[in-house]
Symmetry: C2
Subunit: 380 residues, 2 copies
């Protein structure tokens, strides 16, 4: 195996592959990056078992300046290899496999000789048949991930809750994440060329890595789903993630269908108030803020306190207050994350009682995007 | 004590004060920031015993929008106070001391009540008489710090070596730092209005914090020195550092006054080569690279290796090679740091023997800036 390639093109192409490679793996060959050179081009693979990413650098794309002297395959230590490539002196480098899996990397007057590993020992990527294919634009996929995965659980005691639950039918995708204290749900349209409906749970971590891998350009992403794997295809990249096993809890019944108190408010204004209140609640052991709604006076006040540091109170600017008076206490970090997902927009908050979950929704949309937060009981 | 002030001006002024405040201190009141309001303006103080910083916000400067209702003093928890100020909703805030050292901070509809501490319990700042004053421009002071302090020791086993040694006479300042493996020495001109010469050692950490506090503008810094303190005055800021006690070792005799092999080279080119070689030496237990100088062939080759990962060799582009052939091995990180201090310039490297220290100097200057590196013995 011997080839010469444009260094910055190569670097650019393998960033997504490196994202799949963990230094913490217990399987030594997975700390490596696999290079596989055919006459058509160079295939680069990285994997940490949960996530595998493969990218193809075609010979026919002249920007790659890929000159193939002889085909073959090798596995190189990912971290060193990428640092070496970054620091080479010229715009091109040549890579050649010598005897005993030793690899020479040359650029200008610089020559590295690195110990590689036999590519035959690299695990096979999962097989995902792509007879049924779904399509979704990268913009919408990024949005769904941004608006939901932060609500997935970070605790491993109920592994299924560390994932995003997707229910896909003929024309829509419903995504839900919950850590049992809060929930985020988003419904979007999708193109489904097959007849199948799907019900699957993707690890939140996989989706965060996928999001980083998606370019800022809007492009169509192809999804293929098998029993325990999902494959996302875009550009020349294949992104595989394992699926979580088990039944995701039923979440529809958690979302209240009526309310007794309703606020209309600017999401960014409320976020600034909650950030101030949480300065003090963070200094307190139980990290709780209190919202007091006085419907008659059209007044909403947010309170935070820490016995050691002090207190904060603030009249929150609201556009509309309706319904019954209410005192409700909750973790401000859940509200902050929910509000950040809305960005700069008008929203409505709907409450039923001090100890029942409340919801956040876009002002004129009861259906496509819902965030839910469970309050906490306080004794003051 | 009650005042109203422009929030961003206040923030801007106290950044340097906060730099002196450590969260790790064992003296609780030093986790606080002291505010002291007179009719002339607001004095703000922070200290971690080693470093103390005091800044003055004058009432007469209209940009500060400082309205004084009543004078007084208080100590507030520094971290919370600065986070609160950052997040307040309006461009001004009002601070008032209530009963029991409680402090109200209001801005718009937001009101914080924070528990303060009695300012009478805050330690006094060191007394540094300023009869004899030295002056140095901030540009030159920053340069001296940048070019030397990285060579000070990070180990506490010889505390005196964790400082920068300054020898000041009528018109020059000589600064030396060494960790006993390498040394950096810079000589600059200085204005000394008194008759005294000085010989002192300033902790490297103090100088790094001082460097962050100096603005990018060129300004004159006043230095006052007492037995165990140094005071730097600039803008409305007083920056105090304790001095290290003890005798700094004699370093002049370490610097060789002749050489048998000499290279002329571009500092940045050599830096890039050393960075590549150190990729492999860093993966090795002893972190050593080898420079082989073939004077007849005018060839200089740099070698790095790691038994596990592999090897690198590189012909280094040199402008001039003179003298005897030489193989010399050293820690590449020392050479990297030395070369970074030179920036983009031509330099000369002078060697006497494989186990004797070698020096780096600007190409046409044997005197004002010298870096010295001690080689290591290798057995391969």
């Amino acid at each position: 195996m011997k080839f010469t390639i444009n260094r910055s093109q190569f670097n650019h192409q393998i960033i997504n592959v490196q994202r799949a490679i963990s230094t913490k793996t217990t399987i030594p060959i997975l700390t490596g990056i696999k290079l596989d050179l055919s006459k058509e081009g160079l295939t680069v693979t990285g994997s940490d078992v949960d996530i595998s990413v493969q990218t193809f650098i075609p010979q026919e794309d002249v920007d790659n300046e890929l000159q193939i002297d002889s085909t073959g395959a090798i596995v190189l230590p990912a971290r060193f290899f990428s640092e070496i490539i970054k620091k080479l002196p010229l715009d091109q480098f040549t890579l050649e496999v010598l005897d005993n899996q030793q690899v020479a990397i040359t650029s200008g007057h610089s020559e590295f000789k690195i110990n590689g590993l036999d590519a035959n020992n690299y695990p096979h990527l999962p097989e995902v048949s792509n007879t049924d294919q779904l399509q979704i634009s990268s913009d919408i996929l990024r949005q769904v991930i941004d608006e939901t995965v932060f609500s997935a659980s970070k605790e491993e005691n109920r592994p299924i809750l560390t994932g995003l639950h997707l229910q896909i039918n003929q024309d829509q995708l419903l995504a839900v994440a919950t850590d049992s204290h809060r929930l985020a749900q988003r419904i979007v349209k999708i193109q489904n060329s097959g007849d199948s409906d799907y019900n699957l749970v993707i690890p939140a971590r996989s989706l965060k890595e996928l999001e980083h891998s998606l370019s800022d350009n809007s492009e169509e992403i192809k999804l293929s789903i098998s029993e325990n794997q999902i494959l996302f295809e875009f550009d020349n990249t294949m992104f595989y993630s394992r699926l979580l096993e088990g039944n995701y809890p039923k979440t529809d019944r958690l979302i209240p269908d009526s309310s007794t108190t309703k606020l209309e408010i600017d999401a960014k204004t409320l976020l600034a108030s909650v950030e101030r209140a949480s300065l003090l609640s963070h200094a307190s052991r139980n990290n709780v803020v209190k919202l007091v709604i006085d419907s008659g006076q059209k007044q909403v006040v947010l309170y935070g306190n820490s016995p050691e540091v002090g207190t904060v109170e603030e009249a929150v600017k609201v556009d509309q207050v309706e319904g019954e008076d209410l005192d409700i206490s909750f973790n401000p970090d859940y509200l902050k994350a929910a509000l950040q997902a809305f960005g700069e927009t008008k929203i409505k908050l709907e409450f039923t009682a001090a100890l029942h979950p409340f919801t956040l929704k876009p002002l004129n949309d009861d259906h496509s995007f819902i965030q839910l937060i469970t309050p906490v009981r306080t004794f003051n």
